[in-house]
Symmetry: C2
């Protein structure tokens, strides 16, 4: 961020009066440009004893497997974002059951919400974002070819929880590759 998106003047970095963090400030139009974490919303879609995964057609982690998830847009709720991403990446319609993981991915300024979701029919297909889309039973999950730590973590907890048949919300802070429970 080098120039003011409001007036095009060069930005300066300084701590505004009454604040305690450095911000991008425009001295021409007095706008303060804040930068905040973004939300990633997605689903862990379940059909019978299988989980739906997508093989990424786009960077980052092209070719690796992931749950359908992506950046939440303006003018939608977190659940709408999770359903939209599942439609866009897997052409699948699901019903959200519950919020399953909430992970602050601190080093990249993201907060990831993964919803446990029910697939009523095994209907899905590839898209511009997914090279392959497929249902996997627990012993078929491509653990070594998963795209992200957070996805491996969500799947691990899902299969653990399934043994008990209860799916509580799991909350994590991820700093680099180090998970902590807040």
């Amino acid at each position: 961020m080098k120039y003011c998106s409001n007036c095009a003047a060069e930005l300066h970095i300084a701590i505004p009066e009454g604040d305690n963090l450095p911000r991008h400030i425009c001295r021409q139009c007095d706008t303060i440009h804040y930068q905040n974490p973004k939300i990633i919303a997605g689903c862990l879609p379940v059909y019978e004893d299988k989980v739906l995964l997508c093989r990424r057609a786009i960077e980052p982690r092209l070719g690796f497997w992931t749950l359908p998830a992506g950046f939440m847009e303006n003018n939608e709720s977190t659940e709408q974002a999770a359903l939209r991403e599942t439609r866009e990446e897997a052409n699948a319609e699901v019903r959200i059951l519950s919020l399953f993981t909430l992970t602050s991915i601190v080093h990249v300024n993201q907060v990831q919400l993964i919803y446990l979701a029910q697939m009523d029919k095994p209907e899905y297909s590839i898209s511009s974002e997914s090279l392959e889309v497929a249902l996997f039973s627990e012993n078929e999950i491509p653990w070594d070819d998963l795209a992200f730590h957070t996805i491996k973590n969500a799947l691990t907890h899902y299969f653990e929880d399934r043994k008990q048949g209860v799916f509580p919300l799991h909350q994590f802070e991820l700093h680099g590759t180090q998970y902590t429970r807040p």
Copy 2:
């Protein structure tokens, strides 16, 4: 958003290739400037049978009562944001017990997370953001002078849940003043 924060050229609004929503695009340096929802994190601090509220010293809703909460910053987790806001607005140290409400405030592109939190000591004070800070029992809550619908909603559910002694996560979508449960 009128000018490119990367190169200062005038921005255009168009749907990028492979996308399906209009974005602010720079035709000079090819940067796409996305706009996404922001996270508000805060606490519902409880000391014995009372709840800690702050009377806002800043707009919006100056003079009205609220729970300590504010915009999540980069380089912190949602829990760290909630604790920081509680320190900044009420000079109070609390222990987070659980995530209590998750509300998509769709019309303003915010997602609000309120954590139930324990105060071990009744220690708090005013700050540059709070004209007053005080503990309220249920029958003392200034219901008509609360700053935001979401805060009234969180407090209402807290006192309801307290009768049963269980505090599940409550999830909402708020469109204008209309709550729905996703």
